[in-house]
Each structure stands twice: as C-alpha cells, then as structure tokens.
C-alpha cells in the first residue's frame, strides 16, 4: 500500500510478508507493473545471500544467493507464484560491507581503531 503521512485511525491489519521479501516485491512491481518478473529479478540480484541457520550455527559459511535455482530460500511455488520456502528464523543473511571513515587533513581515512 502506498505511504500516507497521516494516521487514519483505521486498522492496518492484513496479510504481511517478511519485510525483506516485501521490499523486493515493491521494487519488482514498480519496475514491471506486476510480479511476473519477481523471481527473475531476485535471481539477477547479486545481493541477498544466505546460509541455513542450522548450518551457520555449526560454523557453515557457504552463502548462496537466496533465489538460487538449486535449493534457494525463495522459490517458485506450484502455483507459479514466488514463495519464501524457509521460515524467517531458518536462514542467516550475508551483510553488505560497511566502512567507516573520518576526514583527517582533508583526506578520507578509514577508521581502524576504537
């Protein structure tokens, strides 16, 4: 639903996806006007890498793209629609790299010490 700045006071209860999947749906819908390309868009993305939680807790770090055709977390359902095949707690996501900087003498320097 579109963003509205006011609080209508009405109930906002209703079907809800995992927000991460919702964000991909929003982008795909706006891009194509439907969700027909959702799985293709997800698979084309280089982000959204995951590993199963059970494997992660054993020390596994073999992350793969979550729309991977071989056992990804996001798959085509029998209906042809896109489905999150794992419960939200069943996967661990790879983080996007983050770097903190500080300007010193007009130069950008990575912060390396606490």
């Amino acid at each position: 639903m579109h963003f509205s700045r006011t609080d209508s006071g009405a109930s906002d209860k209703g079907p809800v996806l995992l927000p991460k999947l919702f964000r991909r749906c929003a982008a795909s819908y706006v891009t194509h006007g439907s969700l027909q390309n959702l799985l293709a868009d997800i698979r084309a993305s280089r982000s959204d890498k995951f590993v199963r939680t059970s494997d992660f807790l054993k020390g596994g770090v073999a992350f793969k793209q979550w729309g991977n055709a071989q056992g990804g977390a996001v798959r085509a359902a029998a209906s042809g629609k896109v489905k999150l095949a794992l419960a939200p707690w069943e996967f661990v996501l790879k983080e996007e790299p983050s770097t903190l900087y500080r300007d010193i003498g007009g130069q950008r320097r990575e912060i390396t010490a606490f």
């Binding site: 639903m1 579109h2 963003f3 509205s4 700045r5 006011t6 609080d7 109930s11 906002d12 209860k13 209703g14 079907p15 809800v16 996806l17 995992l18 927000p19 991460k20 999947l21 919702f22 964000r23 749906c25 929003a26 982008a27 819908y29 706006v30 891009t31 194509h32 006007g33 969700l35 959702l38 590993v51 939680t53 807790l57 770090v61 992350f63 359902a77 629609k81 896109v82 489905k83 999150l84 095949a85 939200p88 707690w89 996967f91 661990v92 996501l93 790879k94 983080e95 996007e96 790299p97 983050s98 770097t99 903190l100 900087y101 500080r102 300007d103 912060i111 390396t112 010490a113 606490f114």
Partner: protein, 212 residues
C-alpha cells in the same frame, strides 16, 4: 571480538505518526534514534572515540554516524518490523507502475505499539537507554551499509529487540555478525510468538503478493 556500549536517550516523539514532521517520516518499530552521550561510548569497557566524526558512504553520499543533533540511528539487530515507509530506488525512467513509499499491513500498528509500550512502562521520556552491539572486531563492524549502528536497545533492563519478537510485532531476521546465542534466543522467542498466533504471525504469508 568485543562489545560496544553506547549510553543515550530515546525521545518517544520520534515514532510514527507523531514523528512524521517536515522531512522526517517518523521512526518505525525497528529503527530508533538515540541521542548519544559521547562520553559514554565504550568498547570493552574502555572509552572509544571511533564514532566521533565518523561517516559512512551511503548511495554515494556522506552519512555521519552521529548527526548534527547528536543522534545515531540504531537498526535493531535480529528483527525486521513490517515496513512503514519503504522507498524503492527504481528510477522514473524505467518504472512501469506508480512509485513512491510503500507500507505493509501491521507497519503502523507496530510503530505505535512500541511507542505506547515504552511510554506506559517508563513514562514520557526522554528515556535513558543503552545500545549494545556484540561480536565487534573492528570499527567497520559497528554500522550497516547505511551508517546505522546495529545493536540491541536496552531501556532499564528491557531489551526492546526481544520485546518486539516476544509480542509478535517483528519478524526475526538474522545476519552473519550475530552470535550463536543471540540467534538461538531470538528464534525461540519468535517461535513462541508464532505458536501463540500473536499479531503479525496471524497474518503471515510466505507467498509473494503486492498491493500497490
């Protein structure tokens, strides 16, 4: 590896809809602004200056970790609340459908519930709090790619992240920086909320849909 602790205060006026003023859209349930006490930023118990004048590069722009109001944006670790105002980054040139900010069901309720709970339990604030981030090995581990500090917000011993999971206001969402204990605890709490059919879990869908 170590633990970063940041003392600060939370204003309850930041949450949507009250916080939606001017360019601010108001905090949702999984992102909290904390006014930092810069003298009480500690890494493993030692005073840290890592965040002073620190910035990240987000979408090509500098984003100060501590803004001009002395605030940090905290992304609550391990939880993902329904979206309140998600902006797609699809350009106008390629968009085939109306663009803008999008909201999920339960996004409004989750934000309002968190503010109401904190007010009821602790008063109108500002509320003293501590931001706790474990498993930190280097300064780059403190923030996400948007320059937000990732951690748990604790108010007088109450862990806000876990409260959201306990009460079915947020989904668990795990990242590789989390500790095994943190993942296991969040899993147990989310599973209990789901078993009780609390709030978002009553309406949870795993098959993708989109209401424009």
């Amino acid at each position: 590896m170590g633990t970063l602790r940041i003392a600060g205060k939370i204003s309850l006026g930041q949450f949507w809809p009250k916080g939606a003023v001017g360019n601010s859209q108001g905090s949702d349930a999984d992102t909290v602004k904390v006014v930092v006490d810069k003298s009480r930023i500690l890494f493993n118990g030692q005073s840290s200056t890592a965040l002073g004048s620190a910035y990240a590069i987000d979408k090509g722009k500098k984003k100060a970790v501590i803004n001009t109001k002395g605030e940090i944006n905290v992304r609550l670790q391990g939880v993902d609340a329904p979206e309140l105002h998600y902006p797609t980054t699809v350009s106008k040139q390629i968009a085939q459908a109306p663009n803008g900010h999008f909201r999920q069901a339960w996004g409004e309720s989750a934000s309002k519930a968190l503010a109401a709970f904190l007010r009821r339990k602790f008063g109108n604030g500002p509320l003293a709090c501590e931001v706790v981030s474990q498993n930190i090995g280097k300064p780059n581990d403190i923030c996400d790619s948007h320059g937000r500090v990732v951690g748990n917000v604790v108010v007088k011993g109450l862990d806000v992240n876990l409260w959201l999971l306990d009460n079915g206001w947020a989904f668990p969402t795990f990242y590789e920086s989390m500790l095994k204990d943190e993942i296991e605890e969040a899993t147990a709490r989310a599973q209990q909320a789901k078993a009780q059919g609390l709030r978002i879990w009553k309406d949870y869908q795993s098959t993708a849909f989109f209401d424009a």
